[in-house]
């Protein structure tokens, strides 16, 4: 590697952290300067949803990058990306409950039960919670082998999040955006299937 592990942790990690905060800063600036368009709330909810999904995909890209490009240090960023996905998802859900539903819990529950696309988003967020809670090193140690199993929930989460996005667009004709994300997710999940198949083949 070109960069020592130590300087990677000292310089690259904080830099990536700062860059990952740019989307939320851009949204705050946009709000202050009133350039989020005519419907700023919609813009906020959509943007935070987009970034939750993007960070989820970045998180999923780490292992393939390590395996295919031998980029071992990428692994040091994985937790951070996962937590950023959770961070943006939390903002997304918070904005929805406060601004869209005005904290009317009855309405929220009804929305979840009546609308499959909201249900998918809700489930995705629900499954993100245990992953965020167990993301610390101490938890990792405590759970041992179970930790890895638990964190495979991310495969379920990405599928739920994509369904959430896709069904939100459903019948409004243009589904090209969710399709691009789905294609990328397929690639990243496909790499894993291929990897398992490959290691089995070599073992035989």
């Amino acid at each position: 590697m070109l960069i020592s592990d130590e300087s990677f942790s000292r310089f690259i990690k904080p830099l990536v952290f700062a860059v990952s905060l740019l989307p939320v800063l851009a949204l705050i600036m946009g709000l202050i300067h009133d350039n989020l368009g005519a419907n700023p709330v919609e813009s906020l909810i959509r943007n935070t949803g987009d970034w939750a999904l993007r960070f989820l995909l970045i998180t999923l890209a780490i292992s393939p990058l390590r395996r295919r490009l031998a980029w071992v240090q990428a692994l040091k960023l994985r937790r951070m990306f996962g937590l950023f996905s959770f961070f943006y998802a939390s903002l997304h859900v918070l904005l929805y409950t406060v601004l869209d539903q005005a904290l009317d819990w009855e309405e929220v529950v009804q929305d979840i039960l009546e609308r499959p696309f909201i249900l998918m988003g809700f489930l995705a967020f629900l499954f993100m919670l245990p992953l965020a809670i167990t993301s610390t090193r101490a938890m990792m140690r405590r759970l041992g082998a179970k930790w890895k199993k638990l964190h495979q929930l991310i495969y379920l989460i990405i599928i739920l999040a994509l369904l959430h996005f896709w069904w939100m667009k459903d019948a409004k004709a243009d589904i090209s955006e969710p399709l691009w994300y789905a294609a990328l997710a397929t690639l990243l999940l496909g790499e894993r299937v291929f990897n398992v198949w490959q290691s089995r083949a070599t073992r035989v």
Partner: protein
């Protein structure tokens, strides 16, 4: 064409006092609809959740549009509709009427007196605006074609020219855009043909040179850039019915009690406000139009 007001007003001029008075007069005319416009358009009302109807800034009303022929994102129409050629423009009138034919825009508008109408616009997606339209009652136009007794519905069609409208090539929707009204809805005095808004010519992204405005129905009924008007016996199959009949009905009256498949219609976000407000039956025009639907089950005929 007779226009009561000059056509070159800048948008904040719309709220000058004389106009404000005029608006109030019209509101009284409407039998006390709750329209109250105050102060200049701004985002001052971000947190207000009361029922006052401040006019949406022109910049918002002309940059946040659904006009799928030019793209499916709200900002697409303003960007891509500028290539639309609105001169010359003609409208074909056919079907059950005595005076079918193709009319130049000038001939259609010639005899009409342009008035200002401030209407709430409620989109099926859950947002709303308040827009000062310039136009005339659709009834005034339709009567000229002398519809026969066979004319039970009016069918409208938007221009569909792939050379001018980028999305037509992609078959994003089953073009052309088609909408329709029952004859009594079409003849209702609230139903407007708009040729302008905010005292200016209609921007292309808002449906120039002439569009329909039916304030008690979801916005998609108010078809833009009309090139064809047909008097028909059967309810025309609208473009959104072709896309998803279970989500978009023929009547599409604003109704907080009937939710859309993917969201509730109980509330709406007035552009410029953070929180949602309650949606009113028939978008607040129940007094004027509810009688049109007497005896109909509005859950079935949504």
């Amino acid at each position: 064409m007779l226009i009561k007001r000059a056509n070159d007003l800048r948008d904040h001029d719309v709220t000058d006092y004389a106009l404000y008075q005029k608006r109030r007069e019209f509101l009284k005319l409407l039998g006390g609809a709750t329209l109250l416009s105050t102060s200049s358009p701004s985002r001052a009302g971000l947190f207000s959740n009361d029922n006052n109807d401040e006019i949406t800034p022109f910049s918002d009303a002309s940059s946040y549009n659904n006009f799928y022929e030019f793209g499916s994102s709200k900002s697409d129409p303003k960007r891509f509709a500028q290539s639309l050629k609105i001169k010359p423009w003609s409208v074909t009138v056919d079907g059950a009427c005595a005076k079918a034919g193709t009319y130049n825009l000038e001939d259609l508008l010639g005899p009409q007196t342009i008035e200002e109408r401030i209407y709430r616009l409620r989109c099926v997606e859950g947002w709303s605006m308040v827009i000062p339209w310039n136009g005339f009652p659709l009834a005034n136009l339709l009567k000229r074609f002398e519809p026969s007794s066979k004319a039970k519905f009016v069918r409208f069609e938007t221009l569909s020219d792939p050379a001018q409208m980028p999305q037509l090539k992609d078959e994003l929707l089953p073009w052309p855009y088609v909408e329709g009204l029952r004859m009594d809805e079409a003849m209702h005095p609230l139903t407007l043909i708009a040729t302008g808004m905010y005292g200016k010519h209609l921007p292309k992204q808002n449906g120039a040179p002439l569009r329909l405005v039916v304030p008690w129905k979801y916005g998609f009924k108010s078809i833009k850039s009309i090139v064809r008007i047909s008097f028909v016996e059967q309810a025309p199959r609208t473009i959104w019915q072709k896309v998803a009949a279970d989500e978009y009905g023929f009547y599409a009256n604003v109704n907080p009690a009937v939710s859309h498949k993917r969201w509730s219609q109980k509330k709406e976000r007035r552009l410029g406000e953070f929180f949602k407000r309650d949606t009113q039956a028939f978008n607040g025009y129940a007094e004027q139009v509810a009688s049109l639907y007497k005896g109909m089950d509005l859950r079935v005929n949504f």
